[in-house]
Point group: C2
Chain length 393, copies 2
């Protein structure tokens, strides 16, 4: 075998669906000296991190922590703790991640009812009401920010409806947390999970999660063991709670990074963080529209941090992404599932949501789309974005 | 709420049951710039890492990768892929981690038969033979390095016995890999998993794992879906295989660290690495015995990297660990389960297995045990360790 080459990752401008760009302070936190998972310093750090997570989730939920895995482990943790074999589960599907949750729930033994909407759309209370009556689910799953389509699912009214139907609501906030409001307590959400690598701007590897007291009661009253030992919150809560009972060896350095990322959000202020995501989204959107690109998500429900646009006819989807990466160092995402080969997904997440990134991407696309023979007014994209920035000053 | 304090982890000398001390190159690798999980650079890095993992596991197994979770997620990945509801599973239990595997297998729906030996002992082929006949298991689980007792389980003969009985052998090598031989191919092991934070000297968060072709066939022929979506190797192998189909967002920076840690082992040479662990174990052992401490594991089967010794009568177990940490910055572990309050667990893992650590710990224990009123010849521990080092030159 050849010698393994030295590690020299190229610097990238991460504007895909995640991971997002990492603030230098977070990278520095990652390489702080490792301590033990039962070290008094680490136990204290866990307390501080839980407080920051509660603030970010806008919740008082005691059981708020980070799952030792990526966002999909957060999804699995939410589902396998709530669902017992034979339980009726209703999952709302209008993209890859709703579909994934339905899959996870079925593997947990749930009797899964899926309701579907076309990709790019969101669910209304009227969509859910009949399904709630028909399925009378114990658990309902919904994606707040569908990363495959860029659609922003309104939750407040639906959460009320689900609660009135006596079900628990699981919300996927993987891409949402830190970029748009996730009002766990005000909206009465039961289990909400996120990913470290989207608007929190931390490398991938941890999944913040929170369980309402109602959800905790539900787990305590299960008749069957949680199928996953690794994700069983009855065990995990003894480590994250005051007992500090060893469960598994925590990912120490990733916890450092997530803590520092949450501190950065706390310093900026959560509302300021949302406003920043919204501003750069408006600028990017003005620019993309000036390039003749159209959004795939319902225009009334477009996420600021995930911009899914249709690839214009005649343009080589993969070639444009390849050139962005090789010539400009910019990563954007392609389409998943129904959008494969038809979409670009442009992320403005956390530290990546800033004007330098927006302007550079628009300038690069101006060059590449012209080369692809796509017709648009040259230079108009950057000008349109700059107008948005000038108006915001 | 108070302001979250800045992150300032204290430097520690990690001589507990893991995490182990991290070589500076590995910490530096952690904070390299994050790239996307489908970036051509990252996909290439995955190839190189898989090659290094195969070399460390001494295997040609195609399906060799790192689970995106800690060692316990590796255990769960091994078990839930092999075990279907109703399958007979035989687990050998003589410590915490065997017990854990039995728990994980039961949660996967396995019909679990446990055979038990007193803590600190290991299983012989004669212990297994009757149990194999009685239970006729599809899957047998065994811990190569039982981190709770420090016992080193011989595997070669047992692996033959299990294979002859037509069962698949799952081996926990969490603490073993990189410190003692793990001969996946030569011994014919079916699924073997490890942790990044023991003898590989990488922070916790990843679990190297390997599946034999026989194990892969078994998974392909399952009648039921794997209960975990996150850990389903049929899906994972499409991302780690040549297809590179997106599954979940890989923990990029942790992968950098594990890659660098594996490169360090490769540079040293696996055999030299084993010899180093053995040498420092002999020196530590000579010193601990000079302090009048006795090993809890069967003396013929003592792990080099995990030294579990009995706390002498009249000595305050927790106070000694607390003073080691606060006055010397040294972490050692307490006992788990049956050994709670009765044992110290001293790790010599990876970068932590070096003479400075051994000598300093013995010097500190000389001071603290004397203060506790324990009777021994002062200074003899360091002298005994030094004799071992001098003889090895």
């Amino acid at each position: 075998m050849s010698l393994p080459p030295p590690l020299v990752p190229p610097p990238r401008i991460l504007m895909g669906p995640g991971p997002s760009e990492i603030q230098p302070r977070v990278l520095a936190a990652l390489s702080c000296p490792t301590v033990g998972h039962l070290d008094p310093y680490y136990l204290e750090l866990m307390n501080h991190m839980q407080q920051l997570l509660r603030r970010t989730f806008r919740t008082e939920n005691q059981l708020t922590f980070a799952v030792s895995g990526t966002g999909s482990a957060g999804m699995e943790c939410a589902v396998v703790n709530l669902v017992e074999p034979g339980d009726s589960v209703l999952v709302c599907v209008c993209g890859v991640f709703g579909q994934r949750m339905a899959d996870v729930a079925a593997r947990a033994g749930g009797k899964v009812t899926q309701i579907e909407k076309p990709w790019g759309q969101v669910f209304t209370p009227d969509d859910l009401a009949p399904a709630l009556r028909r399925a009378s689910p114990k658990v309902v799953g919904l994606i707040l920010a569908e990363t495959s389509t860029g659609a922003w699912q309104p939750l407040e009214e639906i959460a009320r409806l689900v609660r009135d139907a006596g079900a628990l609501l699981v919300v996927d906030a993987v891409t949402a947390l830190g970029g748009i409001p996730v009002e766990v307590d005000a909206w009465g959400l039961d289990v909400v999970y996120a990913g470290s690598q989207k608007c929190l701007s931390c490398p991938p590897g941890l999944a913040p999660i929170t369980f309402s007291p109602r959800a905790v009661d539900h787990v305590q009253q299960r008749r069957t063991p949680v199928q996953s030992w690794y994700l069983d919150v009855r065990l995990l809560s003894q480590y994250w709670g005051s007992d500090r009972v060893y469960h598994h060896t925590a990912p120490i350095n990733m916890t450092y990074a997530l803590y520092e990322a949450l501190r950065l959000i706390d310093e900026e202020g959560l509302e300021a963080c949302f406003a920043r995501h919204a501003l750069h989204h408006r600028a990017l959107r003005a620019g993309l529209e000036a390039l003749g690109l159209t959004y795939l998500s319902d225009p009334r429900h477009t996420l600021p941090m995930l911009n899914a646009v249709a690839v214009p006819p005649g343009v080589d989807e993969a070639a444009v992404r390849r050139e962005l990466l090789s010539r400009f160092g910019i990563e954007i995402g392609g389409g998943l599932g129904a959008y494969k080969g038809r979409a670009w997904r442009i992320g403005l997440m956390g530290h990546g949501a800033r004007s330098n990134n927006v302007l550079l991407l628009l300038a690069a696309l101006d060059q590449l789309l012209a080369h692809e023979g796509h017709s648009f007014e040259r230079g108009a994209a950057v000008a349109a974005a700059n107008r948005v920035y000038e108006l915001s000053n």
